[in-house]
Symmetry: D2
């Protein structure tokens, strides 16, 4: 089992809709913020990946379940867990919770492309960092 | 096979990100616009459903694949097809295309809830309209 | 007095917030959509400006008044009127209305920059098109 | 001179556009997050204001200047300063900076309305808190 990363968000007006709850697309913003922070935990960032490795991490697929609504002014925790990676893709499970309440679960598949959008192998530095996460926890 | 509804969107600055492409969460906005217009095709709207039937249609799950990037100033077509419905849920397949290019596919599961967020059976008027779509096409 | 351009938008869930009304930042999206369509009316688009003229039109200032709320499922009209231009800036007045009701007024100042963000003179093709709008109406 | 409140934001993909910079409407989200946190500093929140006082704080006008672009992965500070208040409105000046660089300045006028959108006097608890901010600093 791999390490789990936790990232906190707060629900502002911008995140809600006229139904009084978090708009369904906006959870994908929260999920991406958490994945971006995970990249930082790996001592990388998007600027380095782009400028040194001509590498962009993009989402290939996202399977998201909406379990309970999130509300305005909620404090939410996002749990991100690496469940698989190869040289060409990363798969993470993400959960959004309000205290114990499960709000959203998502399985997100990420791939790396160059500046022309062509799929490429991940740079070694990224793979090595991912290995490190795994080895720590196994 | 059921009828397919087509809805057009144009990609504005607001829809893109620093990668120069449509931001992955924003496709969910496009998909919802198309589903909202489909509700209108059924001679319903969210205000009627809310005020006359205390019914809100919410997304329970969304399984989305990103096939190719969408770009700033693209004209995109969204194809929505009803693939299943019962008294408690609707399932649609949606595709976003730029001419022949497939950009996104998504399978979206919708359920109806009341103003307390409790799952409820769909009002008959909604079910009858869905039947009508199917019968026309079968 | 110069010609007025009209652009229509519809308020979807994504545009609203938990107050049940259009979120205040989202009107700026509507205003930009209308200005983008105005660029098209001038037989230009952002891609041409960027690729042929290394020119980006950016907002320098925006003075916006919120008169009445816009609601979910509203149909809104955006009226855009050129009120001043020089070789280095364009100023437009924009109004958002629901039928006769004035929802928003805004005065927006636009300037042109190159790909490094440095202010540049507008390409002649843009100035000439702006002149044309004025001469038609005067 | 009144106290200045500082709030930090980080620029994620969702905040940027295809120009590679923060999308102009998204700064209004940052500004509102900072104002919301200021409400919290006053020992209030939107839920209390709504449920106990039938009071919503809405933006009446916003005069915003864009000085320099904000970029993906920037850390920005938002400085909010109360410059005027009466029983019917609050005016704040807000600045967004990246270290010493001034990115955005804005003057924002806020008013209070009830659940029907009718302008109302602010509840005493809000006015008293605003007085407190001023008296501390004078």
């Amino acid at each position: 089992m791999t390490k789990e990363f936790i990232f906190k968000v707060k629900v502002y007006y911008e995140d809600t809709d006229a139904g009084g709850i978090v708009y369904y697309a906006n959870y994908l913003k929260f999920l991406e913020r958490a994945r971006t922070e995970l990249i930082y935990e790996l001592n990388l960032n998007h600027k380095i990946l782009k400028e040194k490795y001509d590498t962009y991490i993009i989402v290939r697929s996202c399977n998201i379940q909406y379990k309970k609504p999130g509300f305005f002014e909620d404090y939410l925790n996002i749990y991100t867990r690496l469940i698989d990676y190869t040289s060409s893709q990363i798969v993470v499970n993400q959960e959004i919770k309000r205290k114990k309440d499960l709000i959203v679960t998502a399985k997100v598949q990420l791939v790396t492309v160059n500046n022309k959008g062509k799929p490429i192998k991940m740079p070694n530095i990224l793979i090595n960092q991912l290995k490190l996460i795994n080895s720590i926890i196994d």
